[in-house]
């Protein structure tokens, strides 16, 4: 029995170390740092300043704009991504020739590097670029300096790219949900004379609710952390800076204000926590099996 316990400990050690060193400690460290004026460049040792960082954040215009941008991003992309992913899943769920190719093609952007995708779209969105050409062909006037150099279009352009990139991944998750719906249900509906559209609203949609809510939760958590595309495409200019961008900029560039950035990170953490918790509660209430 003793040796068995030792074996277990050895087997579990990689996770225990990773958890303590790279998750628990950093989380506690930044929680405490958030109440201090700790920074890389100040000569004095860090001092406890209570809620000062949080108070300053709430009056920091840059931070408030970053919250606003992040919310626009999350609420603009998550619902649209979910709906498009569902439509795509239904389209490729039927039996037809070349189904695998379509699925793979739709999914491909999701495994491509975000930096690469951002670079490609920076080119496509640029002044006189492909999308500008397309827009003028359709009778719109594209922004003078390109889509990413204009405050009224920059964030929305990044959001459109993000939707394009992630629909394929969520389509796959929807597909696995579609597969788990018993085909007898559709047969029964067909016998009773229900058409494709009625079948979709009466059977598919209600039974996919748990999958849809799952997708909403993971996509919300992911989208609140948007950073890479903003960093690569606009460097946070033209009203695109997100909360993570703010944390990055105040925390690990020029001023290195560790305490201040940690407090901002915890506000983001709290926002994400509230949203995913609410979604979880909604899920449980509607689906006791979950």
């Amino acid at each position: 029995m003793r040796s068995n316990r030792l074996t277990t400990l050895v087997l579990l050690l990689p996770w225990i170390i990773t958890f303590v060193v790279f998750w628990l400690f950093p989380l506690l460290f930044s929680l405490i740092t958030g109440f201090t004026d700790y920074s890389l460049i100040s000569r004095n040792p860090a001092e406890w300043i209570g809620l000062e960082n949080y108070k300053e954040l709430l009056t920091d215009q840059d931070f408030i704009i970053s919250i606003k941008n992040t919310f626009i991003f999350v609420f603009g992309t998550v619902p649209i991504t979910t709906v498009i992913a569902l439509i795509m899943a239904v389209l490729v769920n039927q039996r037809f020739k070349g189904r695998g190719i379509f699925r793979a093609g739709y999914f491909l952007p999701s495994i491509t590097s975000m930096v690469v995708i951002s670079l490609i779209f920076t080119n496509l969105y640029s002044r006189g670029g492909y999308i500008a050409g397309l827009a003028s062909m359709l009778g719109f006037t594209p922004p003078e300096h390109g889509f990413l150099y204009d405050s009224s279009t920059a964030l929305f352009s990044i959001m459109a790219m993000d939707i394009w990139m992630s629909v394929g991944y969520y389509m796959l998750i929807f597909l696995s949900g579609l597969k788990s719906i018993p085909s007898e249900l559709y047969e029964a509906a067909r016998i009773q004379g229900a058409g494709n559209i009625r079948q979709f609203f009466l059977i598919t949609l209600p039974l996919l609710k748990p999958v849809a809510l799952f997708i909403l939760v993971i996509n919300t958590i992911k989208s609140f952390q948007v950073f890479v595309e903003i960093f690569v495409m606009t460097q946070g200019k033209f009203e695109t800076a997100s909360m993570v961008y703010f944390i990055y900029e105040t925390g690990v560039t020029t001023a290195f204000r560790f305490g201040y950035a940690s407090a901002a990170a915890y506000i983001l953490f709290a926002i994400i926590g509230i949203f995913s918790l609410t979604q979880f509660i909604l899920m449980r209430r509607r689906h006791p099996l979950w």
């Binding site: 074996t7 795509m88 930096v115 796959l172 999958v211």
Partner: protein
């Protein structure tokens, strides 16, 4: 009958339309990467322009592209190997020894799965500075060696593997580690492959942490190098897209070969959560 045919045609038209939208940006990247320097990236050039591989060879001769490629491969391979081994060890213990302590430990796995990693920018940066690992390979490898998603997927899988063979080996007097490595591990190959592919892709594409935890040029991975390229005025789109293509091609090859497994892995991970 006629309406059925129209429906079928309409279905394909929509499917191809979406495929066009999804594939176009990547095709565009390849096309621009093959254009001679100085050419416009316009619709006309797309069809009529000439092709050259010079941009690719330029990158290897005038920039450290070889080094970036090595860094990305080296780090991703070590992290993937580490995850396969460590996640398997942890998952085995969590699946087979069901003590209260282990159940609590599994809760920590689930919690970490839900934690938004980007809030750790500052503490990880400080940790790496203080541990003197800032700007070393350690900073690119150590934090990602045991990914909770790997533990989660493997634990689910091992729980569905009957333990009869292990018990028989135990009766025969085989040691615990031998049982785990020679009996259980081979049985888990499909799940291990899924974990390996997911971890490899994630790590290969990782940007934020490699970017903030290193500063030397010699330690840049492909995504970090590409982001730095873009900041330089000297580089043109043709070379930038060639560099991007170099970062995409390995993923593309793995995806084409292992497509089925990748797709099934994603859905397996999703549904069980």
């Amino acid at each position: 009958m006629v309406t059925d045919r129209i429906k079928k045609i309409a279905h394909y038209v929509i499917l191809f339309l979406i495929l066009g939208i999804m594939a176009f940006p990547l095709l565009w990247m390849f096309r621009v990467s093959l254009m001679p320097t100085g050419s416009l990236q316009s619709f006309v050039e797309l069809w009529q322009g000439s092709y050259t591989l010079k941009n690719y060879s330029d990158l290897f001769t005038t920039s450290s592209m070889g080094r970036y490629l090595f860094n990305s491969s080296f780090v991703a391979l070590i992290v993937t190997t580490g995850n396969v081994l460590f996640c398997f060890m942890v998952a085995y213990a969590l699946a087979r020894y069901r003590t209260i302590a282990n159940k609590i430990l599994f809760v920590t796995v689930i919690i970490v799965l839900m934690i938004p990693a980007h809030i750790l920018i500052v503490p990880l940066y400080v940790l790496m500075l203080k541990a003197k690992m800032y700007d070393t390979y350690w900073a690119l490898i150590l934090p990602w060696l045991v990914n909770p998603i790997g533990i989660f997927l493997l634990k689910q899988y091992i729980e569905n593997v009957p333990s009869t063979m292990e018990d028989a080996a135990r009766v025969d007097g085989a040691g615990e580690y031998r049982i785990i490595m020679t009996i259980v591990m081979p049985l888990c190959k499909p799940a291990l492959a899924v974990v390996a592919i997911q971890i490899f892709f994630t790590n290969w594409n990782l940007f934020l942490f490699p970017f903030i935890l290193t500063s030397s040029e010699s330690l840049r991975t492909l995504p970090v190098a590409l982001a730095h390229f873009q900041g330089q005025q000297a580089i043109d789109w043709q070379h930038l897209m060639a560099g991007s293509a170099i970062a995409v091609i390995p993923v593309l090859i793995i995806f084409i070969i292992l497509q089925k497994r990748i797709v099934s892995g994603i859905t397996a991970g999703a549904i069980k959560q």
